[in-house]
């Protein structure tokens, strides 16, 4: 059985990323936006892992550095989620809705 080529994995990653982006733009509840962001991050991780497998022909060190980056991204994502959810809780605990459209003060 032939393994799926790198291009297929990358295309899949692109699709996930796009869906995540659509989610970010489309969802109005802050939590759901956050979920979509996590989806995007994971799509990027998938692409990194696929490329790391592709570079295996260049040696272990090169290939493994791809996976190491994924590892680091994971860690960063964890930290980001923690802080982000803290912010969300801080903002939205007292408001009635978590509609991001209400946060429309950022304008010229």
């Amino acid at each position: 059985m032939a393994a799926a080529p790198t291009e297929a994995w990358v295309a899949l990653s692109a699709a996930l990323f796009a869906i995540g982006a659509i989610g970010v733009l489309t969802r109005r509840s802050a939590i759901l936006v956050f979920l979509s962001v996590e989806l995007m991050l994971n799509a990027a991780n998938l692409a990194l892992v696929a490329f790391s497998r592709q570079w295996a022909s260049a040696g272990t060190a090169v290939a493994m550095s791809g996976q190491t980056v994924v590892f680091i991204v994971l860690a960063v994502a964890a930290a980001e989620v923690a802080v982000g959810l803290g912010i969300l809780v801080a903002i939205f605990r007292d408001r009635v809705s978590t509609d991001v459209d209400n946060l429309s003060e950022v304008r010229l």
Binding site: L25, L103, S104
Partner: protein, 645 residues
Amino acid sequence: MSDLAAWLVLAPALALLGALINGLFGRSLKEPLPGILATVLAGATFVLSLIAFVALQGRDHAVVDVMLWPYLQAGGFDLSLGMRIDALSVLMMLIITGVGSLIHLYSIGYMHGDAGHARYFSLMNLFLAAMSVLVLADSFVLMFVGWEGVGVCSMLLIGFWYQTKTNADAGRKAFIVNRIGDVGFLLAMFLTAATFGTLSIAEANQAAVTSPFGSATLALIGILFLVGAAGKSAQLPLQVWLPDAMAGPTPVSALIHAATMVTAGVYLIARTAPLYAMTPLASAAVAWVGAATALIAAYAAFAQTDVKKILAYSTISQLGYMFVAVGVGAYWVAIFHVFTHAFFKALLFLACGSVIHALDGEQDIRRMGGLGARMKVTGATALIATLAIAGVPLLSGFFSKDAILAHAFTSVHLDGYGRYGLYGVLLLTAAMTAFYMFRWYYRIFAGESRMDAKTAAKVHESPAVMTVPLAVLALFAVLAGYLGLPEFAFPNWIAQWLQPATLGGLTTVPFEHPALWIEWSLILASVVAAGVGLALGWWIYAVRNGAVFTGLAEGPLARLSRAGAGFDAAYRAIVVGAAEGSAGGVSVLDRDLVDRGLLGLGSTATILGRLAARLQNGFVRAYALAMLAGVTVLVLVVAWLGVRT
């Protein structure tokens, strides 16, 4: 420069020096310092001319060529700037600097107290420089430099009192009409260079005589030079600027528009005499243009009421005589008339100026009269000049005018081009000249006074600085003619002097030599014509006090005459009207298309701005979409590039 005659080359430089000093520092110099400086320098140029004249005596075919600067050498074409000092140019220089110096002296008195005193003298000196360059040039290019220079000075001096709009307009008109003529000059230069391969006058003349007689190219060159000359010398149909040019100070009119600049056209044709001798067609054109101009200008002078305008039309008419002379091939005769005309015309203008000065600016002859009693010198010299221009025997004008008439009658060069017609026209014009000049003199200086008491009390003779030049000019107006006595019976110095310089031995223009009785009859006819004109004038103005033909004086003929034979009206309708019409059309285009379009652009910017403002709506999601869209565009570009390779 071992040759004394070559020192004449310095003349333009001296005049230019005066122009620079007066132009740059004149305002800080107190009157009459600028005037004295200018006159002294003008006098110096006259001295140089005299020295050159004396130095050239006794030399056969005396020519001195002074090369100034090798200007352009391109392939086979060689153009260097140099000056040619021969009999013709020295004579012209004598006239220019001599009459010019007298007029400079006169101007010290005339322009006394004027705010632009220094500017005036600077311009007058500049004019002398330019005119000297024109006359001394040995190539068409350098001559054209002088040609344009005098045109500029003319414009600046006509519009000297530019604070009045009509004066500035007159200056502009003169320049523009001159420019039209200059196109002809330029085209002729191009054609000369193309045909003969040179722009040096002497070489062009030599090449011309080896060309086929009467060829079309020669004729075309001749006619194009005629266009240029007509512009500068105010011949039909480019004469419209000269009457308006009377807006300038009277000494300017005397120097530029009577004695010197306007004769540049005649000089040009005399310089290129060998070329014209080879083309009867162009010569006939020259002659007939001159004759028509002489007649129509004389007609226009009849009903003028401004003292200077009468003299302006008289100048145009006399220039017509000179053109006829060069047309029939009598080149020295034309220069002879330039010579005599310079004296009596300048005198007429200066006397005119004296009167205007005395009457505090009055220029309408209907408000003058009887001034001869109070202004004795002015009146006497004016009378001499009037008689001279009328062609009264033994005065200078008689000899030169008669020479023109005789040569027109006996021309072989223009046989078949209506030489007898030319003669007839000129004879009639002579009678008309006598008539209207008498009118001019009588209405100003004789008869009853038509001035009001206040003006009459102010009348006084002009100061010596103004009357001395008058007297000197009057003397020459009487004596100058004796240099050119009729050839068939008397010794004629000027013909011998000028012949080598004009035709230069390259070719000859034949004239008939009819029987003696015919020659004398011609002279008699001239005298009779002058007499008839004077008598008629006497009868109408002196005896009947202008009461005869009053109906005629107000009728359509008179109005046409006063309007300068309708040329100004015609030009206004055709040229100015067309220009204004197209300008109006373009302005409508400009207003509706361009301006509206630009305003539309402005409102487009506003609309675009409003649209763009909608982007700043404050919604985070919209901003995020914008960012994503930007990235997508980049991705698509990369994808497209990747697919292409």
